[in-house]
Amino acid sequence: MAVAKRPRLRKLTMHLLLVPFLVFALFPFYHMALTSLKQDRELYDRHAVPLIIRQGPTLEHYGKLLWDTEFLTWTKNSLIVTVLATSVSVVIGTVAAYALARLRFFGVDTFGTGIFVTYLVPTSLLFLPLAQVVNWLGLGDSKWALVVTYPTFLVPFCTWLLMGYFRTVPKEVEECAMVDGATRIQALLRIVLPIAIPGLVCAALFAFTLSWSEFIYALTFTSSSDQITASVGVTSELIRGDIYFWGSLMAGAVLGSVPIVILYVFFLDYYVSGLTAGAIK
């Protein structure tokens, strides 16, 4: 009896110890969602309990956000930029990763190191000169500037992640196909890529998440209300002199996170594996 009881007690203790971590991780989201649903009267009542809704929820803040601000335009911009930057980066990253993982040619090691180094370069190091480059390209204050610049951090990331995946595909599978008369490109398209689909999904998911969340480039390269992304729009355009904006601000933060949350719920395991693969390989 004592032996059977001990593991259960241990299990219970472990769960109890996890509670503070879970509260820390989740409370900000709970409070954000709660604030976005609260009526102003209760929200700005300093005697009300801030942890629950007493006077009934309201969608008023969401309505204000959707109809009185440009939120839908910002979200559309975010989607355009993210989808284009992600697609371009996954394609460029795939071919580069294949070359690094499989082919031997002049300069391959130098290039591999170069990719690794740029993978570590933080975006805040280069945003000033990049703003100039963007202006020269005639893309100042345009969402297309983001489509062009996001691949600078997405491509190294995708390449690095996919290189790890391609290395796990046995060389023999590919060699068999080539013995049977397939060219390298055919072997890549028909044999290697189908095997590496989990890796491709992972790279695409991370690239999507990274570009959706990107902030400093978007803040620096775009400023007009019809060009900015959701993150920038919510953080800069919703904050006016008026102090009674918290409801719609939190609504904006919630809705701006929705696309990522949806992906996250469906592909949680890919996020976990990609996180560890990206860091360790």
């Binding site: 299990k11 971590f21 989201f29 409070h31 580069a96 990049l130 060219t183 400093i216 933060a253 560890t276």
Partner: protein
Amino acid sequence: MAVRADDIPVPRGRPRLAGRVREWLDQESILGPVFVTPALLLLVLLVAYPFLMALYFAMSNAFIGRPSEFIGIRNFVRLWDSDAFRQTFQNAFVFTGIAVAFKLVFGICLALLLNEQLWFKRFIRGAVLLPWVIPTALSTLGWWWMFNSLYSVVNWTGIAVGFMDPPGPNWLGQKYYAMTAVVTVNVWRGLPFFAITILAGLVAIPRELYEAAEADGAGPVARFWLITLPLLKPVLAIVVLFSTIFTFSDFNIVYVLTRGGPINSTHLFATLSRVVGIDTGRIGEGAAISLYLFPLLVFVVWAQLRFVRKQAY
């Protein structure tokens, strides 16, 4: 309809060229460079070239919309006369040091807990990782509201529990509290990365080692110090190096939460560089500030290449 002779494809000049291209591309020494070119072009034009520009800007008196002159390293030196810069320099180290230390310690604890037998394993992992995937600028807005001077839920809870005397600290308006707030949000956002990566390292440690140690009479504490920690070292090194560079160069959290205030007490290189380079237009000085990130980047890259990649292959 009858098939005419013209419709039947006959290999002529073009297919032969296609065949030659095909053969050509089958050679590794040619396909390799072809595959690498798009990425290389991108990195040269939009990373290497801007980097050189940053170097030039930093050594010039560049100002928005005005021709610039070369002034050598004067920007880098003159920055030390500025209180804001000296404060920023100190902040960067305080912020990074404290945040990374907390993330490391709590990250190990959380990873050890996640490695246990758990109910709702998927749900718990999902919840733990959430702060890391939600756009930082948006989740930091939530924290901004939680630290609001009038309606702070942190203070309300603190007062209700008896930790704080009303009205509680003005989190974003007082020097040390503001730094605490910024560090807290950074730890909140970075902890999942530590926990999940360290967890992967924990899972890779062979069970037999623990069983052997237990048979020899080693308690849980001894097992942690003598088996877990030494075997986790490579993973910990990678995670700390990674996190150091990205914490040091953080922008989003400080920008949204405090804008560097009160009186520069939470400015980091990235946020100060934006204020100077964009808001006041002194691009040269702004570039010099952000280049102070560079030595640390060089160190991290060197350390990663030297120690970490050697172990990975």
